[in-house]
C-alpha cells in the first residue's frame, strides 16, 4: 500500500513541478509588468496615455490569445 501511494505521489509530483516552474516564471514577469504599469500611473510627471494604452492593449491581446489557445 505504501509503495502504491509513493508511486502515485511521484507521478503526480512529476507534473506539478514542471508546471509550477513555468507558472513561477510567468508570475515574476507579470509582477514586473504590473509594477511598470503602477510606475506609469504614479509617475511624477503627466501621464503618458500612449504608453498606458499600449500596455493595456498588449495585456488584453495576450488574454485574448490565451483564451483562443484554450478554446
Amino acid at each position: 500500500m505504501f509503495v502504491i501511494m509513493a508511486d502515485v505521489l511521484f507521478y503526480s509530483l512529476g507534473y506539478s513541478t514542471v508546471g509550477q516552474a513555468n507558472v513561477q516564471d510567468t508570475s515574476f514577469q507579470y509582477t514586473k509588468l504590473v509594477e511598470k504599469f503602477e510606475e506609469e500611473l504614479n509617475g511624477r510627471g503627466m501621464l503618458n496615455p500612449s504608453v498606458l494604452y499600449d500596455m493595456m492593449n498588449n495585456v488584453i491581446e495576450e488574454r485574448v490569445g490565451v483564451e483562443k489557445k484554450i478554446q
Binding site: V3, I4, M5, D7, V8, L9, F10, Y11, S12, L13, G14, Y15, S16, V18, G19, N22, V23, T26, S27, Y30, L33, V34, F37, E38, L41, L52, M55, M56, V59, I60, E62, R63, V66, E67, K69, I70
Partner: protein
C-alpha cells in the same frame, strides 16, 4: 208831235207791257215764294222727323253711353284704386330697392373701408418693421456709445470696478476649484479603474497561462513518464490522473 205822240204811245205801250210783265213776274214770284215756303216747311218737317228719330237714337245711345260711362267710371275708380295700390306697391318696392341699394352701398363701403384698413394695416406693419429695425440700430448704437462711455469712465471708477472684478475673479476661482476637485476625483477613479482592469487581466492571463502550462506539462509528463508503469497503483486507488492532481495541488485549483 204826232211822231212824238206815236213814240210816246209806243213807249206807253212798252211800259204797259213791262207792267204786265212785272205783274206776271210778281205773281210767279209770289207763287214761287209760296212754293218755297211750303218746300221749306216740308223740308223742315222732314228734318224734324229725321232729327226726332236721330234724337231717339241719340237718346238711346246717350243712355247706353251713360251706362257705359257709369261702368267706365266704376272701372276707372277700380283702376284708380288698383293704380294707387300698385303705386303704393311700387313705392314700397322702390323703397325696398333703395334700402337694398343702400345696404349694397353700405356693404361696398364697408368692404372698401375694410380694404383700406387692410392696406393701412400693411403699411403700418411695414412701418413697424422699419421702426423696429431703426430701434435695433439705435439700440446697438446706444450700446456702442455706452461701451465707449464706460471705457472713458473706467479710469475714474477704477477702484470700484477693481473690487467688482476681484469679487468676480474670486467667484470664478472658487468655481474652478470645485471643478478641479471634481476632475481630480474623476481622474483618481479612472486611474483606479485602469489599475484594476490591468491587474485583473494580468491575473486572468496568469491563471489561463498556468492552466495551459499545466496541461502542456501533463502532456510532457505523459510523454516522458510511462503511465502504464503506475497504472496498477492508480487502478487500485481507482483515481484518474486529474483527480490525483487535484489531491496533490489543491491550492492551484
Amino acid at each position: 208831235m204826232k211822231k212824238e205822240n206815236e213814240q210816246l204811245q209806243e213807249e206807253v205801250e212798252k211800259l204797259k207791257r213791262s207792267v204786265k210783265e212785272i205783274s206776271r213776274r210778281e205773281a210767279t214770284l209770289k207763287e214761287f215764294k209760296v212754293l218755297s215756303s211750303s218746300i221749306f216747311l216740308l223740308s223742315i218737317s222732314y228734318l224734324f222727323l229725321n232729327y226726332q228719330e236721330k234724337y231717339e237714337i241719340l237718346k238711346n245711345s246717350e243712355k247706353a253711353l251713360q251706362n257705359e260711362k257709369a261702368d267706365l267710371t266704376d272701372k276707372l275708380k277700380q283702376l284708380k284704386a288698383d293704380l294707387t295700390r300698385k303705386d303704393q306697391a311700387v313705392k314700397d318696392m322702390r323703397e325696398k330697392i333703395d334700402i337694398i341699394h343702400q345696404q349694397g352701398d353700405l356693404k361696398r363701403e364697408e368692404s372698401e373701408e375694410l380694404e383700406k384698413a387692410k392696406d393701412q394695416l400693411r403699411k403700418l406693419k411695414v412701418d413697424l418693421e422699419r421702426k423696429e429695425q431703426t430701434i435695433k440700430l439705435l439700440k446697438s448704437r446706444i450700446e456702442t456709445l455706452e461701451k465707449e462711455q464706460t471705457k472713458e469712465q473706467t479710469p475714474q471708477k477704477a477702484p470700484v470696478t477693481n473690487t467688482l472684478e476681484l469679487e468676480k475673479e474670486v467667484k470664478r476661482h472658487e468655481q474652478t476649484k470645485i471643478q478641479l476637485k471634481k476632475l481630480e476625483s474623476q481622474y483618481q477613479n479612472l486611474i483606479f479603474v485602469m489599475r484594476r482592469l490591468f491587474r485583473d487581466t494580468v491575473a486572468v492571463i496568469q491563471k489561463l497561462k498556468s492552466r495551459v502550462a499545466r496541461e502542456t506539462s501533463m502532456k510532457q509528463v505523459r510523454q516522458t513518464i510511462d503511465p502504464n508503469k503506475f497504472s496498477d497503483s492508480i487502478d487500485i486507488l481507482n483515481l484518474s490522473p486529474e483527480e490525483i492532481q487535484m489531491f496533490v495541488d489543491a491550492k492551484s485549483n
